[in-house]
């Protein structure tokens, strides 16, 4: 590492509407180095890498490669500069062969006629260099996830990349596949390639990287050589954020058990023998907020979706409402029992974006607030307007189109949809994702008020302060199982994070 850095990123700032995603981030990389980037979900890691990869051309600050300042106006620019990014979601075409994928869009050809022999020969040599044994003529869809990852890396390197970014490469890999990946990465390091490695798995990061940078809330917390860090220190740096005054801490009276889940297991729809949620049991009382913490892929969303009856492969286990065993086979069943789900992705599953605020609000409770079969707009307004006002939905009117509203306002519309139906049990999945701070505070207030009125609330969030600030109790999921439970007073960010990550740092 005596040489000059191949990459320097200085003062990188990126603003999305309403959110400052990155704020003066500094990051550098030397040839032959593995530099890990860690941080909580939403700390800005992926945004930083998307800037480096040319996905977001507009940003503040400077990117230097080999000492020369660069502006990337697209992915192609970054590729030409020697940057290759392997994103979390693999970008391979499953129906094409390995070779075709590696050379997609720049097949060796003469006069538009593809030279297949050359294509496969070159693909084979790229794969050999990586030290992996994959047939370049195999269809990508027929390979396991680990091998697909290798193809993705081969594809990245075929662009003569000298800077390789890997975003959560081991998230979907088995242990053996991960070991193989690390061996391949060591080989690349010897060839002088600089590798940026993003991962939640801190042990893995400590094992393979040379330096580690911690991001938090869009800012660089620290960059340090790996020898000077322990897992515990990393966790403290990742979560060490003062819990702000955003969270209402009212005293709520907790009532009887409203909702109980017993031995819930959710199979993976693609591979039924694999369980996304594995034997999870819990109960929520009236007026209680139960938070669920965990890393991405721990099965949190899958649990909520399944309990709402919307999981493609269904679930096993028992659900009790007010002590009564109930069957939940589809969302209509769940809704009939007074359960509501505020989904993670408003745009995909929460709102009909081209419809009005009012239409969206009344979609669930339509027959109650409008008419059994014949609808009546005046009655809908009568039911919806007070809620529109009390939730302070910041839309020009009830007839504004949902698409035109800000994230926080859209989220309130989704919430209104459930409130109009008098939901007694509400599931929140990432209730404040993509919402600016001011609107977040309002959502927190609403959740608190709902709990006060006796609604039982189950909330999944990747933002630790949010879980800690709002919940009466916290369940931690890890790889589909309950890894720990914390009462409000015992839950510290460090303890919850350690429990979610698992491994040596787990609190007793």
């Amino acid at each position: 590492m005596q040489s000059e850095p191949i990459l320097e990123m200085r003062d990188i700032t990126k603003i999305f509407p309403g959110v400052r995603a990155l704020d003066g981030v500094t990051f550098d990389l030397f040839p032959g180095e593995i530099h890990a980037l860690v941080g909580e979900n939403g700390a800005g890691k992926s945004t930083l890498m998307k800037i480096l990869g040319g996905v977001y051309p507009e940003r503040g600050g400077e990117i230097r490669i080999d000492g020369k300042s660069r502006q990337f106006n697209g992915v192609r620019d970054a590729e030409r500069a020697g940057v290759a990014v392997v994103f979390q979601e693999l970008s391979l075409v499953r129906e094409l062969t390995v070779g075709e994928n590696i050379f997609l869009g720049r097949e060796p050809s003469r006069l538009g006629i593809v030279d297949w022999d050359r294509l496969y020969a070159q693909a084979a040599s790229f794969l050999r260099e990586l030290g992996v044994d994959i047939n370049p003529r195999a269809r990508v869809g027929s390979l396991g996830t680990g091998r697909q990852q290798m193809v993705e890396i081969a594809k990245a390197l075929s662009h003569d990349a000298r800077i390789l970014v890997l975003d959560e490469p081991t998230a979907a890999l088995t242990d053996a596949e991960s070991k193989h990946l690390f061996a391949v990465l060591s080989g690349l390091r010897r060839r002088g390639i600089g590798i940026i490695y993003i991962s939640h798995r801190l042990q893995e990061v400590l094992e393979i990287s040379d330096r580690i940078t911690v991001l938090r809330d869009g800012k660089t917390v620290d960059t340090a050589p790996v020898a000077r860090l322990t897992e515990q220190q990393l966790i403290v740096r990742m979560v060490g954020r003062e819990v702000s005054q955003l969270f209402p801490r009212t005293n709520r009276t907790v009532g009887d058990v409203a909702f109980e889940a017993r031995h819930i297991s959710v199979p993976d729809p693609a591979r039924r023998e694999r369980l996304l949620v594995d034997d999870v049991s819990f109960a929520i009382r009236k007026g209680e907020v139960l938070g669920i913490a965990g890393l991405m892929g721990a099965g949190r969303t899958e649990l909520l979706t399944a309990l709402f009856g919307a999981s493609p492969a269904g679930f096993t286990g028992e659900v009790l409402l007010d002590g009564q065993l109930v069957k939940i086979r589809n969302p209509a069943d769940a809704i009939a029992h007074g359960i509501g789900l505020v989904t993670e992705d408003r745009k995909r599953s929460g709102l009909v974006l081209d419809e009005t605020v009012l239409t969206n609000m009344t979609l669930v409770a339509l027959q109650r607030v409008s008419g059994a079969f014949v609808t009546d707009q005046a009655r809908e307004i009568h039911a919806g307007k007070p809620l529109f006002e009390s939730l302070r939905i910041k839309a020009p009117s009830l007839f504004s189109i949902a698409r035109t509203l800000s994230g926080g306002t859209q989220q309130k519309v989704v919430l209104a949809k459930w409130l109009l139906n008098d939901a007694k049990v509400l599931f929140f999945d990432e209730p404040t994702r993509g919402i600016d701070v001011g609107a977040k505070a309002e959502i927190y207030q609403l959740i608190d008020r709902l709990a006060q009125s006796g609604v039982a609330i189950l909330m999944v969030s990747s933002e630790l302060p949010e879980v800690l600030g709002l919940s009466d109790r916290i369940l931690v999921l890890r790889q589909g199982r309950i890894a720990g439970e914390f009462s409000r007073d015992r839950a510290t960010p460090e303890a919850v994070m350690a429990c979610a990550i698992g491994g040596t740092a787990t609190a007793a």
Partner: protein, 420 residues
């Protein structure tokens, strides 16, 4: 609060009003947040006219322009009562189909089989008369039954067996045409029942036309007054007094003009009466019932509809059933208008119906489209047909013009949306 809670009232709003009062503390917390993160979020400016409103006005304007142009080109023949009556009769079959088609399109599906289904259901109805010597009622019921059964089958295959509707109904396009040829042995069968014939060829007497007109006017006034009353009672002023008057005046003028024009020739053609009834029922179903609301949600965002407890598959099945039934009705009307059932009856009508919906503002991506728009689209297409035929424009030119206008209309709309 919990202990004193009575059984929850059915009126969903009241509970929420009590529960959810966002206090101003939220604002205080906002003020306490780091200032740089609270960036202003762009708000969409309020539009005077919605896009869909501009769209339906422009379609009305386009029809007016076409009518005026043809009136000039034909020395006024185009707008004479006799031709107006013909034009309306020509619109009827496509119009009936497009009422059902728009429902399927709003659900983000498509049906390519309706032309063949017209042939099959019309053939089945007429063969009931010639082969089984059945009467009017049973032959009509057979025609409708065939349509409904086919619609239900195709809907089931689309919604529950998960075969794309394009494929299911492309198969239907071939299969039902084949079935029509098969049961008829390739022969054309004449209609025997005079009542059946009247479905396509009769007119109401002018007196009945006037009675129907008065009934329609009364219904319009009653409907507007009733909704005004509900609005008053709930203290929700959706319509200003002027707005209410416009809502009476515009349909009233259209109905009066329409009936007087038709009476000036021979009275209201029965197919037009059937279309009017179906369009009215269809428009009501789509914009004033829970069924319609959910259908728009299913087409607009099936995920969100599912998470809101809507049975997405059942909605799709129903849309296909309705279209099937309407195809059966259209089959009877079409056959009756022609006077006999031929094995090739109704060929390519599915494309006219789809074109009518699309010109009328429906999006093939689903979630958007109206019954009235589709009927206007059908009228627009029929106007082109009728006017060009009056001018003896060769068939091939007619096809080219219609095809070009369809693509142009959708292209202009796409352009307008991009600008938005």
């Amino acid at each position: 609060m919990l202990s004193e809670e009575p059984p929850r009232p059915l009126d969903g709003a009241s509970q929420c009003q009590r529960v959810i009062k966002v206090s101003n503390q939220a604002g205080a917390a906002q003020a306490g947040a780091p200032p740089q993160t609270a960036l202003p979020v762009k708000k969409a400016p309020r539009k005077f006219l919605s896009v869909s409103a501009i769209r339906s006005y422009s379609l009305v304007a386009a029809i007016a322009i076409v009518w005026i142009a043809f009136a000039f080109a034909t020395d006024g023949i185009f707008l004479e009562p006799r031709n107006f009556s013909n034009l309306m009769r020509q619109t009827a079959v496509t119009g009936i189909l497009s009422v059902g088609m728009v429902m399927v399109i709003v659900a983000a599906e498509i049906d390519l089989s309706v032309g063949s289904l017209i042939g099959l259901s019309g053939m089945a109805a007429v063969m009931m008369q010639t082969v089984a010597h059945a009467g009017f009622l049973s032959s009509v019921l057979v025609g409708l039954g065939v349509g409904l059964a086919v619609g239900a089958l195709q809907g089931y295959l689309t919604a529950y067996a998960r075969i794309p509707s394009f494929i299911v109904t492309l198969g239907g396009l071939l299969a039902w045409r084949g079935a029509a040829q098969g049961i008829s042995g390739g022969n054309t069968y004449p209609i025997e029942s005079p009542s059946f014939m009247s479905l396509g060829q009769s007119y109401t007497s002018p007196a009945i036309g006037i009675v129907l007109m008065l009934a329609a006017l009364a219904a319009i006034i009653w409907y507007v007054l009733r909704r005004r009353m509900v609005q008053r009672r709930l203290e929700i002023e959706l319509w200003s007094p002027a707005g209410a008057i416009i809502r009476v005046a515009v349909p009233a003028v259209v109905v009066i003009g329409f009936v007087l024009m038709l009476n000036a020739y021979a009275g209201i053609p029965v197919p037009v009466l059937i279309l009017a009834a179906i369009a009215l029922a269809g428009a009501f179903l789509m914009s004033h019932t829970t069924f319609g609301r959910r259908l728009y949600a299913v087409g607009g965002n099936p995920e969100a509809a599912k998470y809101s407890g809507v049975n997405v598959r059942r909605q799709v099945l129903w849309a296909f059933c309705i279209l099937g039934l309407l195809s059966g009705i259209a089959g009877c009307v079409y056959t009756a208008r022609v006077g006999s059932a031929g094995p090739e009856a109704g060929t390519l009508l599915e494309l006219d119906a789809i074109a009518a919906c699309v010109i009328g503002g429906a999006s093939l991506l689903g979630g958007r489209g109206t019954v009235w728009g589709s009927c206007l689209g059908a009228l627009f297409m029929a106007s082109l047909d009728n006017g060009m035929s009056l001018k003896d424009v060769p068939d091939f030119v007619q096809s080219i013009v219609k095809g070009g206008i369809l693509v142009l209309a959708v292209g202009l709309d796409a352009l307008a949306r991009q600008r938005e």
